[in-house]
Amino acid sequence: MPFAPEACAELAKPLAADAETDLVAQLQQGSEAAFRTLVERYQDRIYQVILSLLRNPEEAEDVAQEVFVEVHQTIGRFRGEAALSTWLYRLATSRALKSLRRARTQKRFAFFTSLLGFGNEVLHEAPTHAHPQALLEGQQQLGLLLDHIARLPDQQRVAFTLRHEQELSYEQIAAVLHTTVPAVESLLFRARKTLRQHLQPHFRHD
């Protein structure tokens, strides 16, 4: 996948408060140019966080589009209590989790209908997004870590992903999750503990 470090460094810069206020004001007035600016500025970060949670590029793209459609439709209600990026991360994580829950429900339903003999289709696991680095270098530990992250409870999974993949601060994660910094610390502590328990045997054998 193409990677331009300069572009990512630019995207990683927080939008200055004044610029953000202007952008929000223009969006609320229905400016299409402002909406384009918003999408182009945040699309990579929003896509990355959704992909980290879903591990499926097609679904991640679909959910990322839903997020920006929701922004377009609800920007009038944005009052600026949180930063624009926090609001976007919040929409992205909640939509990604909703998509995960829907997929789990469909999987359970398909399982039960197959047990009852209503469907003759073969049950199979949905293809997951294999980590490119893990594929290229055969880093099984990283693949294993990603598998276990996917099994964490939703809140722990979001907190861990935002911290270790998106490198958000504890304060930012707390804002995204509508919680406190100590609660984020607790979520991360439990997530790390669970992950290390699962990965410990693999560390010893290396």
Partner: protein, 99 residues
Amino acid sequence: MTEPNRHPDSDEAWSDLLSQLARQPPAQPRPFFYGRVQARLAAQAAAEKPLVPGWLRRPAFAALLAALVLSLPGDGAAVGAAREAAGRAGESAPHLLPR
């Protein structure tokens, strides 16, 4: 909050693994993402656009409109127009022959 006590080697391996996770190449959506968002917005707007005005979709208004249409005297209006046309042409209005 501290991490649970581990063997130093495993601590190092864990830190390496976390830094690998953070160093993964950033993914990007496919090109022309904005175009697809716009297309989705347009599709939603078209789907939400009602074929009839909002007030007409309310049962009370729809029933009232239907009652109004049914109460209009369609035949009388047509006969009246025919009489006027005949009067202008200097003819008497047609009437039934006596038996």
